[in-house]
Structure formats: C-alpha cells, structure tokens
Amino acid sequence: MLALNQLAVGAAAIIHELRLPESVEHHLMHMGFSPEARVVAVRRAPAGDPTVYAIDGMEIALRKETARGILVQLIPVQPGAVQSVNSAPGRPSHKASA
C-alpha cells in the first residue's frame, strides 16, 4: 500500500481509499478516482509536479499534495505483459501501449 504520489512513472495500481476533505473526495470520485479503479502514472510535468495519471481512459493531472491523500495498491507487473491504460478490473484489457 502506498500513496499515489509515490507511484513510479509507468507503474499501475488499484485505488484503495481516499483520505481527503469530503468535497475533494467527491470531486475526485466523479472524475474517476474511486476505490477499485485502476490508475497508471503516465508522466510528470517538466517541473516535477503535477503528475499526469491515466484513469478510466482519461488523463488527469494532480498535484503532489492531492495525490498524497489517495492510497493505492501496486499491481505487480507480469513478465511480458504490456501495461494497458484502458482496462478496468474484471474486463478484458486492450493491448494498447501506455
């Protein structure tokens, strides 16, 4: 279990919990950041912050202070598998490269 801001670029994780003020949680959940959703850290801004995350087929940038409040579970990478950003848990993943 780690905070989203600690997720390395290119790594995928499943969101476990949000520990943020209620209105922030609501906003984020409606953008797709809700428990059981699959998130990938795509890239960091040239200055290092914010970071762009892929979730639900969308790319959303969050600042470190917000990502810190999202707890995620790292998905171990299977050898030979291609990281996909379009799949949600329980659905067949598309072989789109990240």
Binding site: L20, P21, S23, V24, E25, H26, H27, L28, M29, H30, M31, G32, S34, P35, A37, R43, A45, P46, A47, G48, D49, P50, V52, D56, G57, M58, E59, I60, A61, L62, R63, E65, T66, V85, N86, A88, R91, H94, A96, S97, A98
Partner: protein, 638 residues
C-alpha cells in the same frame, strides 16, 4: 402562442400552460462537446446573461438550428456531478428544478455524454435521471468511438435507463435528427396526456454517493456491452514532446512569446489604427455640425466614447482567437501544467499564466480570459492582480517622463542605458506589486478553498472554424454590451464635467471646469507626492484611461503634445522636481486608472464590491508608493 416571427432571443415569461413544451435544458460534463451541440442547435440565436447573485454565465438560445425557434434551449455549465460543492452544479440543479429566479421551468432535458469515456460519464446520468424530467440521452463523438473500435448496445442502454438514446456527432452534425423527433414526441405526448408505460430496468443508485454512482455506471456499461475505444496513439506521442522535460518548456516559451508578440505587435497597432481612423472620421463629421457645443458633445463626448470602447475589440478578438486555438486543440491544458509549479509560488495556479501574460498588453481581454480558471477564488485573485501588469496604456506617460527627466546615459555599452533601466524598473515594480497582492489575497480573503487543482488533459484535436467563430462572436458581444455601456457612460460623464460650468456663453477652459476646480482643490493632498494642481487635473482626467494624461498635460501646459513633444518635456522639467516626476510614474504603475478594466471586473465578478475594493486598494498603494518615491528620490538625487 410562439414568438418565432421576430429574431428576439428572450426567455419565455408568459405563464406556462401545463403540459406545454417550451424550455429544454442541455446538460453534460466538460469536454463532452456540449458547446458544439449548443451552437448547432441554436445557430446565431443565442444570448448570454448572468444568473442572479453568482458568477455563472447564463447561456440560452432559440432552437433555430433544428427549425424549432419556438423552443428555448438553456445551456447549463459543464459539470461532472450534481453535488452541491461547486457553484456550477448548484446553479444547474436550481435551473432544472425550477428554483432559479428568472429562469423558466424546464420541460425536457438533453443529456450529452462523451461516448469515448462512457463508463465514467454515466456517473452524471444517475442524478440527472433521478430528477424525473423527460430526458434524451445523446452519445456524442460516436463517430470517433466507432472508428477507434468502441461499441455500445444503445437499445439495451435505453432499456436500462428508461430513456431514449441517440448516437450523434455534434462536430459533424450527424444524428441530430433524433432531437427534433424526441421534442415532437414530447410535445405530442404531453398534449395527448398519455404516457405509455416504458419497460425499464432502471434502478438508480443511492443518490449523492459517488461510490455507488460508479458501481451503478460500471454495471450499466457492462450490461450494455460497452467497449471503450482505444485512445489514439498520437496524443501520447505528442505529449512526449509537448510535456517533455526539455522540449516541453521550450515549446511552451515559444507559444508564450507568440501570444505576447501577436497581441502586442499586431493587436495594438490595429487598435491604434482603428482609433486614428475613428477619430479622423469623427473630425470629418464634426465639421458639418453647428453649433460648436453640439459638435463638441456629439464628437468629443459621444463619438470618442464609442470609439474608446470599439478600439478594444481588435485586441480582445485576437487574444480570444489565440486562446481559442490553444484551448480547442487541447494545448492550453498542457501549458497550464507546465506553468503550474511557478504560479504556485505566487499562490495562483497554472491556468492563470496566459491571462496574466496577456495583461502586459491590456488588462481588459486578460480579465475576460480568466474564465478558464474554474476555481473561483483563484480566478478572482487573478482578476484583481492583472491590472498591475504594466499594460501598454502606461507607456505614453512613462516615455514622456523618462525622456524629460532621465539623462541618456549608457550603462551596458550602447545596448542598455539609464533610460531603459528605469523603464525596466517600472515593469519590475508592477510585477512585484502583482506578486505581493496575490500572496496577500490568497493568505487572507481568498484563502485556498477546498477545490483542489485537478486538470483534465483532453485528447488533441483540430479546432473547427465554426467553434472558433462562435467563441469570438460570443466574447465580443459580451464585451460590447456589458462593459461597453459602462465605459461609454463614464466617458460622456467626464466630458460633461470637463465642459461645465459655462463661461460667458461658451465652454470653460479646462482649468476652470468642474474637473479643473476639483484638481486645484486636491492640490494640498498631492503636494507631498511632489505634484501640483496641473498634475492633479491630469490624474483626475486619466481615471478613465491612463494615456489621457499626456493629452491633458499638453492642454494645460499650452502645447500640443503630438507636434511639440519637446516643448512639453521642457515645460514639465520646469514645473516638476525629479522626485515629483518619479513619483508620477510610480503612481501610474500602481494606480487603477482605467474604467474599462473596472467595467470588465464588475462584469466578471458580477458585483460592484470587487471593482470598488480594487480601486480603493490600488489608489492607496499608489499614493503611498508615490510618496515614498518622492521622499527617497529627493533625498538621494537632488
């Protein structure tokens, strides 16, 4: 019954006949193509106003695009949810439930979702459907979805949700015939008063719970066999360059310089050119008018007043064209991302960068451009800080005073001299004042609200001329109608004050007019700044616009500033000390001397309080800074 004979776009105000279909609401998340659809459905029959008490804009129009000009279409703000945490969502709910004063009862709803991201966008469908208004679900960008290998069973979706569903492409104008069909059915059905029981498996989730919305949305998309399309490779590939560690900032700098260059060296000369043209035309017309007082009123007062509003249009339209291209292609989000780290040091966010940059040309379009900042407090802070950026209207007085009082001493060889250094110093002063004010605001009155910085990076796409054109028309009209009227009124009022009271049957000299008397009256107050009563009159008359002071000083010192610039410089040197002169330019760096800016601030914040606070704060700051400058310069340089 219907007022389609005239071209008037107004909300229906006559009492509503029960069951009649008159008003339709358009709702959907941001980036779902809702605006494109709105433009297609209403064509040019649109109107913009403000909802009472909030800064959310009210967009509505007549559905002339589908040949139903009797129907009003309200474009609700783009929202992700109906939760009450954002002002936009609160306004949308109020309008849909008929609780918004001045907004008519909504008879039907068009719900637009982006079919490229349907699973998540369905989260908005749940609370909208729960309102139990007759709804048509429109899956937009379905052409793109299918082209990229996506699919959905629309029949199953319609049965799941209990509402008709249609696949459309607003950008291409495809599939839109479903809308008039739905509206006709709706109208007929209400008249027939029969509602065939729609077989539905609609089980709405717990309202207000985001997690249950998501589970419901996932369930619906699974049962309707929704297959998300592959995201286009080229967005990712482009981002590798546009957001690269080195290439990103380089391209960003290029774009930034272009914006600045375009507005500064294209927009301003065009403004000057149109100003000269309008003035010349005015003089030409004036020659045919008798008596002289009528000519002065119509030409110097009203015509010049109208001209002073119109000259802003080229700059506004040019800036908005540029911003429109940046936004519609999707690059603006990337630019905000790159600028965010730096902007955060000031207490603002990355989206404020482009508006603040363009304020170096002119604050008026810059303040209108802050619409891209969704966070209300950040937007207000940006609006209040923008006028400190050294706008082009300050240049005439800067140049005059510097030429008159600063010797042409080289500092870095021939390249950089003392005069340029002072000019640069004034630019830096303005920037520092902006920084200081932003920090001050963000740590007190406009403390960071709980809305976090969340930025969606849309797919890159080619902007359409249609959308750009609509945007320009929209912003131009808003400016002319809502800011232009105030600017015109104040210009005419000032003209009157400069031309009364009558002296021996004719106009008084400037020094004897109301403005002149007040200028002399405030002299004791501005004496500590090193100013005299002539400067006082200049300050008063330039409350309208900064560049006015050069012409006023020319009149007062008895020389025509255009042809005898040297003469005016000599006259100033004779009348002012170095301390007073430096205090004058510092005063201009900090003071709010632009009714156009105040008018636009009033419009964008939808209150008179904010422009008033801005005016008072900047005046006090200007006075204190000018006083300090006068004291310091007199002490060290005289």
């Amino acid at each position: 019954m219907s007022c389609h004979a005239t071209g008037i776009v107004d909300l229906p105000t006559t009492p509503r006949i029960a069951g009649q279909l008159r008003t339709v609401a358009l709702i959907g998340p941001p980036n779902s193509g809702k605006s494109t659809l709105f433009n297609r459905l209403t064509g040019l029959r649109q109107k913009v106003a403000n909802y009472p008490g909030v800064t959310v804009e009210q967009h509505f129009g007549k559905m002339a695009g589908i040949r139903r000009p009797d129907l009003t279409l309200i474009d609700l703000p783009g929202i992700y949810s109906l939760d009450s945490y954002s002002e936009d969502a609160r306004v949308a709910v109020d309008v849909l439930q008929g609780n918004m004063p001045g907004s008519p009862q909504v008879d039907a709803v068009l719900l637009v979702l982006d079919s490229l991201h349907l699973q998540r966008q369905l989260m908005l469908a749940a609370p909208v459907l729960a309102l139990k208004l007759p709804t048509l679900l429109l899956l937009n960008m379905s052409d793109l979805m299918e082209a990229r290998g996506g699919a959905v069973d629309t029949l199953a979706l319609a049965q799941e949700l209990g509402v008709p569903v249609a696949k459309i492409s607003a950008a291409r104008g495809e599939g839109l015939e479903a809308i008039p069909r739905f509206l006709k059915q709706r109208g007929d059905r209400e008249q027939a008063e029969s509602l065939p029981a729609a077989p539905t498996r609609l089980e709405l989730p717990v309202i207000g719970n985001a997690r249950s919305y998501r589970q419901w949305a996932t369930g619906v998309s699974t049962r309707t066999r929704y297959k998300a399309p592959l995201s286009p490779e080229w967005t990712r590939r482009l981002d590798r360059w546009l957001l690269g560690r080195v290439t990103g900032p380089m391209i960003f700098l290029l774009v930034v310089i272009s914006v600045f260059q375009v507005v500064f060296s294209l927009g301003l000369p065009f403004s000057d050119w149109s100003q000269n043209g309008l003035n010349a035309l005015g003089d030409l017309l004036g020659r045919h008018l008798h008596p002289a007082w009528l000519e002065s009123l119509l030409i110097d007062g009203i015509w010049k007043g109208v001209a002073s509003v119109l000259i802003f249009l080229p700059q506004i339209l040019l800036l908005f064209l540029f911003i429109g291209i940046l936004e519609d292609t999707g690059y603006l989000a990337r630019a905000a991302l790159i600028a965010d780290r730096v902007m955060r040091l000031i207490g603002l966010n990355g989206k404020a960068f482009i508006p603040l940059l363009s304020a170096y040309a002119c604050a008026v379009p810059a303040i209108m451009a802050t619409r891209t900042i969704e966070n209300k407090r950040d937007r207000f802070a940006t609006i209040l800080v923008a006028p400190f950026m050294t706008c082009s209207a300050r240049l005439p007085i800067y140049l005059l005073v510097i030429a008159a009082f600063i010797p042409n001493k080289p500092l870095l060889g021939d390249f950089f001299g003392l005069q340029a250094a002072v000019m640069l110093g004034l630019y830096v002063l303005g920037f520092l004042a902006a920084l200081f004010t932003a920090r001050l605001l963000k740590s007190s009155v406009l403390k960071a609200s709980s809305a976090p910085f969340i930025l969606e990076l849309p797919q890159y796409r080619v902007p359409t001329l249609h959308a750009l054109g609509h945007r320009l028309l929209d912003r131009g009209t808003v400016f002319l109608k809502q800011a232009g009227t105030i600017i015109l009124a104040v210009t005419i009022a000032l003209w009157v004050l400069c031309h009364v009271p009558f002296h021996a049957g004719g106009f008084p000299e400037l020094a004897h007019s109301v403005v002149g008397r007040v200028g002399q009256w405030i002299e004791p107050v501005i004496r500590p700044l090193g100013f005299n009563w002539k400067i006082g009159i200049g300050l008063l008359s330039s409350i309208i616009a900064r560049e006015v002071i050069v012409g006023t000083l020319g009149t007062l010192y008895g020389s025509d500033p255009a042809t005898q610039a040297v003469g005016l410089q000599q006259a100033l040197r004779h009348d002012l000390t170095l301390g007073g002169a430096m205090a004058l330019v510092v005063f201009f760096a900090f003071a709010m001397q632009c009714t156009s800016t105040l008018a636009v601030v009033r419009r964008e914040t939808n209150s008179w309080g904010w422009p008033a606070i801005q005016f008072v704060y900047m005046t006090i700051l200007a006075y204190v800074a000018a006083f300090a400058t006068n004291v310091l310069v007199t002490r060290f340089f005289s």
